[in-house]
Every structure is written in structure tokens, then in C-alpha cells.
Symmetry: C2
């Protein structure tokens, strides 16, 4: 064992029973653990001869050895001990496997608990099923070595590391009876997202939420390196975890007998501590302030690859990075190593554990809990089955009303806030709102009328004056997009609902989390009928690129949409509602939907409003449409199509139309607004795609299209390059030109402004090139004047700021 | 002040002088601090009347008030105290401003130190210059409110939060005399990247590296919320920081007189502690193991908006989130608030601080250090000026040699490793290699022969057996892409060089860091002539999507290139070398380059080799070219162009050509390989873009082009949609189809495999549609057979695995 073991047990380990298990209990639990470990090793190595009933030969070994052994025994050890306490205390418990590639631990337990065979009947609990179960693991056409969506009992794949604790907290929120045991790998503990997610304990309420029990698994090594937390001093480690607000208990060693007693004692102590904390908080007199508990956690220090051969060819194997993946890599070609594999596998004595048919012997079958108490059968891990639709107020009741389009300026997100407030009020146990310290900045603060911001830290007297903090708050604000997204994912994967708002530029912080969740959804939705649909991840992207007057260049990046469009069309949706009523309609649709990531792009500043509620619903339902009030091509082919997507581009395109209709009255303009971006894609590539016929009838087959786009222009080309009229698409969008600019100046720099758009039209409509030459010069003067006005005054020219769409 | 102040000073604060400053010193330092704070507030509010020589009127106030006051006074306070010690101990010190939008603190000091006027002569140190200096701040046509590239003395913009400590460490590595004072905002401290970056102290050597002095600035609030670290108990905070391996010293309060004495005493103690640690390590007898010091750090707890009005309209202002941005928002329209702004500004008594001309009075001018000792004039903060080119071995010496193309299989990254090892050997003070626990996995481990992995944690006896750990190692491995990228950026921005390798799927973790660095480079390179070019960020993306036999779907994401192509063409480069010699040529080019982010895509597994070194250099220099050995269209127009980019797509395209040449011998094929992806772009849009003429001569104007691409197919369309022959481009790439698959199976699922490519050709060359009908059936059978073989055996058919390009 490592020399890093703590010299003295943590002071917090007092009152722990030292030999809680009878010899018989310990023997059985160890036998069950051996069965788990045998299965873990078996699935890595064996394609045949699953119970070693004949001598191990090369033809029993898989042709390619793929899979990870390192963290499996420590995880199965924990699982066996969790089982004991689930039964003893009738716990409702689920398990998150943080360490990467540790799926064998979950799979083996799922198989032994019978859940695996229930979900996949071919993998029966007999020798035939076991052979299939072994062979399919990390095998082409089979399953992966992470806790992929195919894994019963899993909501956390762990392919990309760092999100185990935030997923666990997401599962625990609003599940007061649930304990989420969360194994944290010491490798993943080095990631930023994991490092800050320990602070999630400041956002969990002991009365209304369940508990998260982190088990930090110090097995000492990553792929090829020692881990930081396994090599800092024991005092530093304890100090760090206490500093994060936890009460750590240490279980350290390698001798199974000793370790079983230690783990049983400490785990029981910890479970009882969780219950006591909850009991105390839940039985307090009404009005008693809820204090943040110092929740218990466990540090489990065991050798990497625990119970595999001590050494190989003179090199340390157990307790070394060499045990990370496949500990013995060449049994196919090295007879001595084949023998070593066999000896190792036989060391678990499978013949004592499984009966003639290949089923676990009855005395071991008795050990795990039954039915929905089985960890791998937790209903929470197939959260869609528990999901209840939201009680939804009628979004039409929040409509912005006005007489004529383009006259009123309103913050669309502020309207949305009122709707979300009432969604919150109607769903006070299964809906949460997430935002990185930006809910108010994003103009959604009216939500606080329904529920404050979750805060289990110290409060100060001044918090009463507009702090909106509450120990039972349901608005989750922490300055970590990673943690918020992790909570949100854990929350929806266990059957609940939510809404996330983020500054546009910084949603890139969770690009990779989006990718991983999208992949999870794709497999779950398209390939796994047993997984019930879960609520969509609803991401409101706001504080948009075009309104960064104060934040400048760093806050200008609309590229998240490019990431989204790389993922499966079956699970991605992008909406760019141009005004408040459209935003309400879109938000209502998204909150009711399942199995998507819905990305809604809408700025928080005040913008012109165009569509009354009925028109907005019609427009959003179609997802794309001609705006008659801005078009003058009725009954004929237009000279030009002005298309737009996004609130600010829409406003500039409209202003360009207003200019053109005044200066070039004979020009026939068709004005198209796009809300649902995927309407642009071919229908064979996206379920929302327009047919060729529909597309051509909107965009014509040969007229110039001036498309003003919210994000990078290339995305419109990516979506439309197969369309008939694509060669005539002239797209404007953000092109990385910006600094501290007024709205108009920034638009001008990127040529999405009214003046440049009008010039684009003049340049592309043959009839205008002579007749509008004068207008073009005037437009160029407007550009120059606008910029010099803003540089002198720090604001846009009043006629721009106060601009309204003219009444036709 | 907050009630959260620690009840007792930290035990580590013993031996600190309690009143180190004479009354005269304290008075002067406070006056200098007032001058800083006056400038900070002035730049937020004033467009005129900069020294308040007339009563403040509405016309002196900016039309839009933008900027952030909250953290400024705490930062300027720190800066004033750093100045004292720089002079007293002749320190070489640079400053990182972590809190977002804290630029006024840096700008005001830069102005007072004279550096700002040296860089921007119009902003002179007189009343005219001060007026311009005020007006330009957070103003259209002016500068931002972060420490943008325009800010002298800054290498850290801080627009996106979380990277201050990793940037600071990057600056400190290999700069043994440098102290990097790093102000950490308590908001940014909640981010994941910051939370794990505290562990950077395990990777800094006290002998060869400088020191980082973190100053955690607890001002208590983010935009609208209290911060976690300001509201946990003082005991937890101390425990947390000690757990991270630091020795924290606490400076807490709000009374300036008391705070000056406290800060002076503790900062001096801390600086002397840093020197003592360094002295001890550097004077140790040779062979003494270097231990990891518990470096000192400071926790500075001051009210948010310190020294602004105590309250406004009955609400707490100083010490509240209301002081985060512009504390008094409406002086333009509210006369009482205009008066409040004036009273606040006059509270700093500018008339005592600046002389008649508007210059700082002489006794205060004496306070800051001079020349390159000025913090804002640190040469390290314009690292390009210090940068020395690498000593480069001749990459041709590492060439893979072979007789004929497509016969030999080699891991290209393994060859690269040998080259990088010798680059390391020749540059042992200014070159580092970065990788998240994957250097060996990515086959670069031969680098360890030149230098081990940096490790300042405990070592165990078994580490001697292949651990490759070293306290003076120059290979940086931590399981945090964020920290590595932050170190790397800090390292190159201070004038050094590096190389980063990452798994392809997980480079998305640092999408947003790439975006921010690219934006920094773009401004620096294109707009700021005073910033000298810095070394490029070289990112090797490996463990590619096409070789995830063991990792599966989570590890399949080639979308980083889409992110890269959104940024300015002036600073982005993407290379897809098809074999080892090309990779060597590309890597040599990248390591010599400046002011780019170079993205190199190359798989780590063994692949066929095609070009001898001379051909590889020629090919990579052109960036795109016809491969004669695979083409048979000499002297005529081909029937089809087979194009490819990326090592694995190249191999599959070649195999398709081999099949077609055998089965359809009359077909004229042109084979094009693309190394430099931006050659595909129009030359007016990217400096590397091919002219129309060059492009058309390669790709023809009307023949089908079957383009086999490494990443998502849409990227090729994005780059080529304006090309003449674009309508005939048929691009294959990754389309999110995968799981645990053999290489060929995964290729087939995404149709980038030899068989589907050959079918694509048959479908698109009119002459083949009848004559090759039989071949097409045969190809379909191959697909079916290949998949069923892999599902049975877990590996690809031997004839595929052992496939070699046939000799013509």
C-alpha cells in the first residue's frame, strides 16, 4: 500500500464501530465482492469459457483487449457495502460512477442484481448469458466501457471527466428521500468542473432535498501519472475537504478483511449522520433558520487495480498506473502472461460463487436489495419514467399588446421572466431555473417573486434589502456554468424540468458538456426504447454579441450554434424569436418538449415588438414566414428577398427595408423572418427542414437573398448550400470585428446594419445599380456620420436610437 | 464591514510587524491610493472637467455610464503596497488582474507610473491628457473595461473569468527572479478552472521558477449575489486554502489607516517568506531533494466598492453588490445623485494630488518604482520583446525512410516525440510540453528522455520504475485542460514557447479559452504595433475520432475545427498532416511561428506512410497537392477527383482508389491531399487561400470531387462554397454515428470508408453507372462482410488491417 496513508485516523471518525460485521456477514460480502470483481475482469478478457470450467486458452481471450480495470474493485467494494445499508435502513439510493471507464463495476452489479437480464433478456443469469455479457463488453456491436446510456442504473456516463458531483446534486435536489452515492475518481478530481463542484453543498437544503454522499476514491493514479489528491499530505487533504464544507471519513488499506470492517463501520456511521442531519432539519420548529450542514463524505484509499497480481515481469502491478486499463496486455501472445491472467481470475474462486447453471449461488443472491431498491434498478436513473409534465400557465396571458408592429420597445426576456415566474409558482417541487449570477442581469429577476436564489451560506442583515436569497430558493446561481449545467442535467435525467440562461459568449464554457449530453440523448432516444423521454435542456442564450457596448470584444461570440448544428438533428433545436410574444411561444413549446437540447437566442435589452400573440404563435409554429407588413411584393415575384434570423438582425433588416421603400419605392421586397433555424435545412436531413418546394416558394429560385443573421454567416451557408437558390444567398453575420462600440457602430463594423444591408440590395438588384447610385452615396455618408457621432458622444444618433418601423 | 471577518487572525500571521509604516509613509501611500481611486472613478464618469476645477455638471458626465468600480479600490490598494516593496527589495514583479472588469485599477496605475503616456502619447500626464484618458475608457472608439491587449502591463484580459492563477503560473515558470502578484476575484474563484488552478503550486519549482503570490480579493459580491468564499466561515476558508497547499495571510477591514499598516506588514512578511523559500531551495547542497514549499498567499477582505458612498437612497452602497458596476447610475437625470457623485469624487481631494498642470504632485511621483521596475512597464507583460527563437534541431533528421509510399505503418506522433525531445534538450529554459495525463498515451513519451514530468508532490519508491517524475521536469501533466492551456498561454505571453497535445474530443473543454486567446492575439497583432509577436499556441489534436475502438461515442468529436474557423484568419492555422514526415515538417513550421494558434490534427496510432522527407516538405509548403503515385490522370482532365484531408481519411481514400483502379481500370482519377486546410478558402478571405485559378486547376470546374474529410463534412462546404466547382463537391466526414467500433466499422457507419467512397465515385461518374454496377454490388457485400466479421471477432478483417497501398 501507499506510504501516503494518513498517520492517524481523522478526528471525525470517532464513534465508528470497529467490527460491525459478523464473520458470516463479512464472509458473504467478500464473496459477493469477489463475484463482482470476477465479472469485471471476465468482461475485459473473456469471449468464451466464462466460468473457467476448462483451462484458459488463447481462443477464450478476446482478440482485442479493451476496457479499464483500475477503479473497478474499489467501486464494487463500495457497492457491496451500500447494498448492506440499503437493506438495513431501507434506503432509497442511487449511484454515480465518476471514475472514467469504470463501467465494469456498475455492469457487474447490475448483472448480479438481475436488472441487466431484465433489460436485456439475452444476457441471462446463466452461463450462456454470462458469455454474451462478457463478450459484448467493449466489443464492436456491443457496449462501451463507460456507464453509457445502455447501462441500467446510470445517469452519468463519465466519458468526459468532471461532472459526477454536479450530476449527483442535480439528482438529489427535490428528492428528499434520496441518497446519491457519488464515487469521485482522483483523476477527475483534478478537473476544474469537479474542483468547484464540491461547493454544491452550499446549495442543497436538508429539508427539501436529498443527500449526496461523495466517496473520493484515491486509487492513486490516472492513465500514467499519480494523482494530485493521492499525493498531497493527509493533513492537506483533510483540510481541503473540510474547507469545501464536508466532514471527511477515511477508509484506507488493502487487506480485504480489515477493509470490510472499516468500510462497514464508517459507511453506516455516515448514513446515520445523513439521516440525523435530515431529521434535525426536518423536525425543527417552523421559522428556525436552516443551517448548512457539514455533510459527511468518505475518502476511500485503495490500491489501483486492487486484487490484481502484485507484479508483472518484476514491475509493480497492483497499486500502480499499470493497472489503469488492461493490467496484463498480451495473454494472446505470451503464454506466461496467459497463465498469470488465469491465476488471477481463478483467485476469485468463481466455482464457489456461481452454481452449475452459472447463476450466483443462493446465499449470495440474498445479499443485494430487491426490486426498485436495487441500485442498478433505481427508478431515478430512468428519470423519464418518473417525469410529470409541468403545470403550465397559458403563455398567451403574458402577451405584449400593441396596435402596430415596430412601434413599442420592450425587453423580451423581461416578459419571459413573468411567464417563468408563474411556471415556477405552479411547479414548486420539480422545476428550477439556473444562471451564473446573471438571472437579474438577463432581466429575469421577476422570477424571485416566486422563489429566491438558493443560498445555504451565511446571510447578512443587508441581504434583506434586495438580496433575494433563500435557503429554500429554486433559482440556482453560482459563477460556474459547469456546475449549473451539471446540476441541470442531473435534474432532468432524474425526471424533472429546468431553464438555464447564460451570456452568449460564455456558453462556450460548456461546449463539451453540451456535446456529451447531446450524445447521451441521441443514444437514449434513438436506440434505447427502455429509457423514457426526459425533459429537454432549455438554454436561453442572451446578452448577445450585438449588445456589448460595455463588455467589448471578449463578450462577442455567437459560435455556440455551430457546435449545436454538429450534433444529431434528432435532438437539437435552435430558435431565434424576434420579439417577446415569439419568445413566449417558443419558451412554452420548449418547456413542454422532451429529449431535446433547445437553444433559444434572445437579447435582454429593449427591442422593437412586431407580432401580436396570435401572429406570433402562427409564426413560431411555422418557424419561418413572410412578414406582410414589411413586404410589398404581394402577388408577384419580388426583386429581392430580405431574410433575417435573430432579434437585432431583424430590427436592422426592417430598418433597411424602410430606407429602401422610401428611397427606391418601385423595388419589390419580400421580408422573411426565421425563428426555427432548422427550417432552412433540407427536410431529409432534419425533421424540421422545409421541402425543396416550400423553400423555393419562399426564397425564390433566382432572386438575390440578403440574409441578415445573428451569428456567424457561414452557418446559414452550412444549412442552405444544397438549396436551389443558394448561389444568390448573400449572408451577413458577425465577423469578429468589435471592441467597445455602440450598437449601430458594432453592426456597421460587421455589416449587419441597415445602411450596409441597403447597399447590399442596391449592389445585387440590377435595376438599382444606376437608379440608386445616389442613394448608395447617401448610405455611405450615413455610415460615416453614425460612427463619428458615436465616437463623439458615446451613444448612437438619436434618430437611430428612437427609430420605429414606419406605418405603411 | 462584513460580519464574516475572521474572529482571530490566522496563526500564520505571527511575526508580522504591526505598524511597519511611518506616519509619513502611510500618509503618502494613502494619498497615492486616493489618486488611483480618483482616476478609476473619473474614467467611469467624466468626459470633461477631469480635475473638478469647476462644479460638476451634467455636461461633464458621459452619456452612457459603463465600467466597473467594485474591485478597483482593493486592487489599487494592493498595487500601492506592491510598489513600496518593489522599491525596498528591488523586486521584479508583474501583476495579473483576475477580477472581471477591473481595468480601471490597472489603467490608473499605468497612467500614474507614466507608462500609459509613453505607449499612448496623447494621454499625457496633464489635464488635457487626463481628459482624453478618462473619455476613452469604456467609450466607443476607445478601450474596454477589462485589461485588454491595449492595456500596458497586462497579459490577462479577464473578460472570461477563471484563468488568472494559471496565467500567473505560466508567467512564473522559468522566470526564477519574477514574482507574479495575482489578484483573484472571489467571483472568478467560483469557476471550475480557477478552483483547480490553486493546485498549480504542485508544479512550480522554487529553484528554477519564480513565485506566484495570489491575493484572493474577498469583496463579497459578484454582479448580483454574494460570493461563496466570502460567506463560508473563516475557518473553512483557511482550511480550504491550506488544503490547496498555500499558507494564507488575512488582511481584513475597511479603515484605510489600519488597513495600510496591516497590508504593509503582511505583504512584506509574505515577500520575505517567498525570498526565504527560494533562498533555502537554491542554496541547498546538490542532491538535496527539492520539497514543495507551502507558498504564502494573501486573503484581502475589503468592502465592495470600498470608499464609495456608504449608501444611496437608503440602500447600502459601499460593501454591497450595488457597487459592482457603476455605483450611481443616473447622475445625468437625478440632480441629487449628480451631487452625490461630485461629493464622492471630491472626497479623494484631487486638488491635493495633482498640480496645476494636472500632473501628479512630485512627492507622489516619487512613490512608484521607475523604468522596467514599474509594474505596468514589466517587460514580461510584452513577452514578445523578450522572446528568443528556439534552437531547432533539423526536423529532417527525424525522417521516416522507406522505398515506396503506402507500405510502412508507423505512429506519426511517435516520430514527432523524438523531434520534440530534442527541441526540449536544446531549449531547457524556455520550452515546455503540456498534456492532460496523455503525453504517453499520445505516444510522445520519448520526450521524457530529455525531461521528466513536473512533480513537486510526494514521490514513492515505485516511481523510480517508469514514473518519469521530476521536480525539475518540463513536461506538464495535470488532468485539467483548463490549467494546462492557462499555463501555456501565460508562458508564451511572457516570451517563451510550448507544445500542447490533447485528445481530440476533449479539446472542446477549452473552446472558450481558445476563443479568448484568439481574440487577444487578433487585437495584439493587427492593432497594437507596440506589442511584439509572441510564440504561437501549438495544439496537437490526437486520439482522433476515427480510432476510438475502446472509448466509444463520447470520444468522437472533431468539431474543434469549426470553432477555430470562426476566428480571424490572421491568427488561425489548421494542419492535417497525412503521415510522419508531413507532421514533422508542420511541427517545425509551427514551433518557429509567431502570433498564431496552430492546430495540428494527427492520430497517435500506426498509419501508412506516404511521402519521403523531401516530398513531405514540398507538400506541406504548398499545403495542398496532387499525389502522382495515386493518380492516373496525367496530362488530361480526370473523370473524378478524390480529395482528402487527415491521416485516416487519406488512407481510406487511397484504398478506394486502389479498388477503383483494379475494378475500373479506365477511370481517370486525380488524387489530392490537403494538409493546410485554409488553402481551400478564397484568397481574399484567408492569407493561405488558393486563388480561383489555382483552385480550379486542381479541383477542375465540373468534375465530381469526392472529398474525404477528417471532421464534420460541413466545414469543407463552409470553406469552399464560393468555389466554381462547389456544386460537384461531395464531402464525407464524421456524422455522429459511432459506439464501440473497429476502425473500419466506424468508417463505414460514417461512410468515410474505402467501399462507400468507391460507391460514391460510381454513383457520380456517368460512365460507371452501367459498367460498374457489378462492382457496386461487390462493394456493398464488402461492407456487410466487414461489419459482421468485426462483430464476430472484435477486430477488422485481416486483409484490411494488413492493407498496403499497391505498387503501381
Amino acid at each position: 500500500m501507499s506510504t501516503m496513508t494518513a498517520p492517524a485516523p481523522s478526528s471525525s471518525s470517532k464513534n465508528v464501530e470497529t467490527t460491525p460485521l459478523t464473520a458470516e456477514e463479512a464472509r458473504k460480502m467478500n464473496a459477493y465482492w469477489r463475484a463482482c470483481n470476477y465479472l469485471c475482469a471476465g468482461m475485459i478478457y473473456l469471449r468464451d469459457n466464462p466460468l473457467l470450467r476448462e483451462p484458459l486458452k488463447v481462443e477464450h481471450i478476446k482478440n482485442r483487449l479493451l476496457g479499464h480495470w483500475g477503479s473497478d474493485p474499489g467501486q464494487t467494494f463500495t457497492w457491496v457495502h451500500l447494498n448492506r445499508l440499503i437493506k438495513k435502513y431501507d434506503l432509497e439510493l442511487m449511484y454515480i460512477a465518476g471514475p472514467g471507464h469504470g463501467a465494469p463495476a456498475t455492469l457487474s452489479n447490475s448483472y448480479l442484481e438481475g436488472v441487466y437480464s431484465e433489460v436485456y433478456p439475452a444476457m441471462s443469469q446463466d452461463i450462456t448469458g454470462m458469455q454474451k455479457f462478457f463478450k459484448q463488453f467493449s466489443f464492436p456491436g456491443g457496449i462501451g466501457s463507460h456507464c453509457t446510456p445502455e447501462t441500467p442504473g446510470s445517469i452519468h456516463e463519465g466519458g468526459e471527466l468532471g461532472y459526477s458531483i454536479s450530476h449527483a446534486f442535480g439528482a438529489a435536489f427535490d428528492n428528499p428521500n434520496l441518497i446519491v452515492a457519488c464515487m469521485v475518481g482522483d483523476g477527475e478530481a483534478e478537473t476544474g468542473p469537479l474542483a468547484t463542484s464540491w461547493h454544491s453543498n452550499k446549495f442543497l437544503n436538508p429539508i427539501y432535498d436529498g443527500a449526496v454522499l461523495p466517496i473520493l476514491h484515491l486509487n492513486g493514479y490516472k492513465i500514467a501519472n499519480p494523482t494530485i489528491l493521492a499525493r498531497i499530505s493527509p493533513e492537506e487533504l483533510e483540510s481541503l475537504l473540510k474547507g469545501y464544507g464536508w466532514t471527511p471519513y477515511f477508509v484506507e488499506g488493502s487487506d480485504p478483511d480489515t477493509m470490510h470492517q472499516k468500510m462497514a463501520g464508517i459507511l453506516e456511521h455516515v448514513i446515520l449522520d445523513i439521516r440525523a442531519i435530515q431529521q434535525k432539519a426536518r423536525s425543527a420548529a417552523p421559522g428556525t433558520p436552516t443551517e448548512r450542514p457539514r455533510w459527511p463524505m468518505i475518502v476511500l484509499r485503495t490500491p489501483k487495480g486492487w486484487t490484481d497480481p502484485t507484479e508483472i515481469d518484476g514491475h509493480k502491478l497492483e497499486g500502480s498506473w499499470r493497472s489503469h486499463q488492461v493490467p496484463i496486455t498480451d495473454p494472446l501472445t505470451n503464454p506466461a502472461h496467459l497463465a498469470l491472467v488465469e491465476a488471477w481470475l481463478r483467485s476469485y474462486k468463481p466455482e464457489e460463487l456461481f452454481d452449475e447453471s452459472g447463476a450466483l449461488i443462493p446465499e449470495l443472491q440474498e445479499l443485494p436489495p430487491k426490486g426498485t431498491s436495487r441500485i442498478s434498478g433505481s427508478p431515478h436513473a430512468n428519470g423519464g419514467a418518473l417525469r410529470k409534465p409541468l403545470h403550465m400557465p397559458d403563455f398567451r396571458d403574458y402577451a405584449e399588446t400593441f396596435e402596430l408592429p415596430g412601434q413599442l420597445e420592450v425587453s423580451s426576456t423581461e416578459r419571459l421572466g413573468a411567464f417563468l415566474r408563474d411556471v415556477m409558482r405552479a411547479n414548486m417541487t420539480n422545476f428550477r431555473v439556473f444562471g451564473p449570477d446573471e438571472t437579474a442581469s438577463n432581466k429575469l429577476q421577476v422570477i424571485y417573486e416566486a422563489s429566491g436564489k438558493t443560498w445555504m451560506n451565511a446571510m447578512l442583515p443587508e441581504d434583506a434589502d434586495g438580496g433575494d436569497l433563500s435557503t429554500s430558493g429554486r433559482v440556482m446561481e453560482m459563477l460556474s456554468e459547469h456546475t449549473l449545467e451539471g446540476w441541470f442535467e442531473g435534474y432532468v435525467l432524474t425526471g424533472r424540468h429546468g431553464f438555464f440562461s447564460s451570456y452568449e459568449a460564455f456558453v462556450h464554457i460548456i461546449d463539451s458538456m453540451f456535446n456529451q449530453h447531446a450524445k447521451w440523448l441521441e443514444k437514449s432516444k434513438l436506440e434505447l426504447r427502455w429509457r423514457a423521454p426526459v425533459s429537454s435542456i432549455n438554454l436561453l442564450i442572451t446578452s448577445l454579441v450585438w449588445r456589448q457596448d460595455h463588455n467589448g470584444f471578449t463578450h462577442q461570440d455567437p459560435g455556440f450554434l455551430d457546435i449545436v448544428t454538429n450534433k444529431s438533428p434528432e435532438i437539437t433545436r435552435i430558435y431565434l424569436p424576434p420579439d417577446a410574444n415569439c419568445l413566449l411561444s417558443v419558451a412554452d413549446h420548449c418547456l413542454r418538449s422532451v429529449d431535446y437540447v433547445n437553444v433559444i437566442v434572445a437579447d435582454k435589452a429593449a427591442h422593437l415588438q412586431y407580432l401580436n400573440m396570435d401572429d406570433a404563435v402562427r409564426h413560431c409554429t411555422k418557424g419561418i414566414g413572410i412578414w406582410d407588413f414589411a413586404s410589398n411584393d404581394t402577388g408577384q415575384e419580388p426583386d429581392v428577398v430580405m431574410a433575417c434570423a435573430g432579434d437585432i438582425p431583424t430590427s436592422e433588416s426592417l430598418a433597411a427595408v424602410a430606407i429602401l421603400r422610401e428611397k427606391c419605392p418601385s423595388l419589390k421586397i419580400r421580408f422573411i423572418n426565421v425563428v426555427d433555424l432548422f427550417r432552412l435545412m433540407p427536410e431529409r436531413e432534419h425533421p424540421h427542414g422545409l421541402s425543396e418546394r416550400e423553400f423555393d416558394s419562399l426564397f425564390t429560385v433566382d432572386k438575390p437573398v440578403i440574409f441578415n443573421f445573428h451569428a456567424y454567416a457561414s452557418l446559414i451557408h452550412k444549412l442552405t448550400y444544397k438549396r436551389t437558390n443558394h448561389d444568390n444567398f448573400h449572408v451577413r453575420g458577425y465577423k469578429e470585428k468589435g471592441n467597445i462600440n455602440t450598437p449601430l457602430e458594432l453592426a456597421i463594423l460587421n455589416q449587419v446594419d441597415r445602411f450596409n444591408l441597403a447597399i447590399d440590395v442596391i449592389d445585387r438588384v440590377p435595376s438599382l445599380q444606376v437608379t440608386a447610385a445616389h442613394t448608395k452615396e447617401w448610405l455611405k455618408d450615413q455610415i460615416t456620420d453614425s460612427i463619428s457621432y458615436s465616437h463623439d458622444n458615446g451613444i448612437d444618433r438619436p434618430e437611430i436610437r428612437n427609430w420605429k418601423w414606419p406605418i405603411a
